[in-house]
Every structure is written in C-alpha cells, then in structure tokens.
C-alpha cells in the first residue's frame, strides 16, 4: 500500500528538518493580512481575525512538539505550560528562546512574554492609520492555540511597547488566564 493511501495518522511523523525561504512565508503572510483586512472596520477586528488563524497553527504545533520533542509528555501546571511556550515553542518558531517571561505585578492571572524582532513583523511597515496594529496578533493566536490545547484557556493579545534607548519597540505577548484555570491552579499543591 502506498503512503498516500494510508490514513494521515498512520504515516510516520515527518522529521521537521526541511526549510522554505522566508520570502515564501512573508508573501503568504502579507496575503493573509490583506485577506483579513477586507471587510473589517477596526484594527481590533483585524487582529482578532489574524489571531483566529494563528489558533489553528498553535493547536497543531502543541501536538506536534509534544510528540516530537517531549516524548509525548504534556505539562499540566500553569508555569510549566508557560515555560513550554516561551522556550520549546519559541525556539521552534523563532530559533531562540523568548527574551523573558514576566509575571504581572498587578494582576496574578496575567503573564507577559517579551521579545524583539519576530519574523512575522520583519517585512511589515505600518501605515499611519494602522499605527496601533501589531501583526504579532498571529503569534498571539499561536500561543492561545497551544495553551488552549493544553487545557489552559486564556485571552492572548500582542502589543508594541517602546523601550528606552532602543530604536525598535519590543513585542509583548500578554497572556490572561481564564478564571477557571486560576481556581484549578490554587487547588493543586504547589
């Protein structure tokens, strides 16, 4: 029986070493943004459409990476899940770990992943009327998908934050966990 006839889950998992040119992705991503831009009224709406495309990617990446790199193990504690996102997933996506992972001092259910120069923003220049748009909303979607799939429903948003002494703003991925997650986390032994 040829490989094509086999059900997709019966085929061996690809090694994942193959590469495509970054331009190919940039072209595709720009068309995706163009498509999402049609029929939206606000920047927020555009970001949420980009995010929903990202969620599909995140869900699948979680499964893929857990199978391939973690010997089918998946983290069940909040901090471990976040660390998985900011190290394993980040390395896979961007080739390096996230710059840092921060816990909000004001809200206990908010965490921030900070980083510079995400490749999705590489060839994007924002027009004036979209100055607040951050196309890393797509990455926020990936993060939300991965956390959702692991059983940590959350609201994830991407923001540009200017840094003193730096020409480029940093990108902050803000993760706000669902109340149910926080409650469950409290019940678990620390």
């Amino acid at each position: 029986m040829s490989l094509a006839r086999l059900n997709i889950v019966d085929r061996p998992l690809p090694k994942g070493k193959s590469e495509v040119s970054l331009s190919a992705f940039a072209f595709l991503f720009s068309e995706l943004v163009q498509y999402c831009l049609a029929n939206v009224k606000s920047t927020g709406e555009l970001e949420s459409r980009l995010e929903s495309v990202g969620v599909g990617v995140g869900l699948r990446l979680l499964e893929l990476l857990c199978q391939r790199e973690r010997a089918s193990k998946r983290d069940i504690r909040l901090l471990d899940a976040l660390k998985f996102v900011s190290t394993t997933l980040w390395k896979y996506l961007f080739g390096h770990q996230a710059r840092d992972l921060e816990h909000s001092t004001t809200a206990p259910d908010e965490y921030m992943i900070n980083d510079y120069d995400l490749f999705v923003n590489k060839y994007i220049s924002l027009p004036k009327d979209y100055a607040s748009l951050n196309c890393a909303a797509f990455v926020a979607g990936i993060v939300r998908g991965a956390l959702d799939g692991a059983g940590f429903p959350s609201r994830v948003t991407a923001h540009f934050v200017p840094v003193q002494g730096q020409a480029k703003p940093k990108t902050v991925i803000l993760v706000k966990f669902d109340a149910s997650v926080m409650k469950r986390e409290e019940r678990l032994p620390s």
């Binding site: 690809p14 994942g16 992705f25 498509y35 990446l61």
Partner: protein, 172 residues
C-alpha cells in the same frame, strides 16, 4: 536566501485555507480566492526571482517552464518539479511535484476530494509571475496527492505571449 522552518509555513497555509472554507462555505469560491491570492503573490514574487536567481534570459516557453520548475520552486519552496508531457507545439506541459511541503499534515475534509484544489495558490503564483514576463498562461491541478492520486500534477498551458515591441506602453 534566508530560510525558515517549513512546517510553520505549511501550518499557516493550512490554517488560512481552513479560515477561507469557514468564511465562504463554498469550495469553488475558496479555489477562486486562493488563485487570486496566488496571483497577487506571483506578481511581486517575480521581482525577487529575477533579482536573486542569476538566471540567463529564457529563450522560449520550454526554457521558461524548465527554469520555473528547477530554479523557482527550489528558491522559494526548496523542492523541485519535473516538466513532462509536452504537446507537439510546445505550448502545453505538466509540472509534476514530487515533494510539496504545502501538503504535509493535510487531510481534506470529507466531500472535498476532487473539488477543493488545496494548493491552488501555486497556480495563481505561476500565473501571476509569468504574466509579469509577458507570458499569458493558464495553470490547473489535474492530479493531487490529496485526492489520492500518485503524484501532484499541474497542467500549464501557454495562451499568448505579450508583444515585446518598443516603446512599451506603461499603462498595459
């Protein structure tokens, strides 16, 4: 050229197609939209191709198709296609994709086989890119591994070549 992990590209494309299916609820409409997006990409992609590929001028359509399959696919998707089944006039050929990174992890939803041309974006890219070098072509999927065919086959047909008379009209 700078490269990136192919799987992120694959998954992003897949997620986009899924979004299109959800938004339009019509497979034919999705095919059209993918082709349109591809065309937009092709129109811009040809610039980068000509600037970075260091190829010589193509002498005829045969030559163009060969370079498209061997250089173009290699450059952007890191795979190659083989050009076969030429017709007698040399205006029609088939591109056989041996290994297409876009179809990894993909399983078409039920009822979409033979209807959804999942990689239709590629057809648009080829059409758009060749349009910019004065070749009017049509490009269609005739076989697809996702339809349980043994290979993916794109049929490329030359419709007309634009005139290359000087002076060029800018508003063409």
């Amino acid at each position: 050229m700078e490269t990136m992990n192919a799987e992120i590209f694959t998954l992003t494309y897949g997620s986009m197609v899924r979004q299109l299916l959800v938004d339009t609820e019509d497979v034919e409409e999705v095919n059209k939209q993918l082709d349109k997006m591809g065309y937009n990409i092709g129109v811009r992609l040809i610039d980068e191709f000509l600037a970075k590929s260091k190829i010589n001028k193509c002498v005829d359509f045969r030559d163009s198709a060969e370079k498209l399959a061997k250089v173009g696919f290699k450059m952007f998707l890191n795979t190659t296609a083989s050009v076969t089944s030429w017709n007698a006039e040399g205006t029609e050929c088939s591109l056989i994709l041996e290994d297409n990174p876009m179809t990894d992890f993909v399983e078409l939803p039920e009822g979409c086989s033979r209807k959804l041309r999942y990689c239709n974006l590629l057809c648009g890219v080829i059409r758009g890119a060749l349009r910019m070098v004065n070749l009017n072509v049509s490009c269609n999927f005739v076989q697809d591994v996702l339809w349980d065919d043994p290979v993916s086959e794109l049929r490329l047909k030359l419709i007309s070549t634009g005139a290359e008379n000087y002076p060029f009209k800018d508003d063409d």
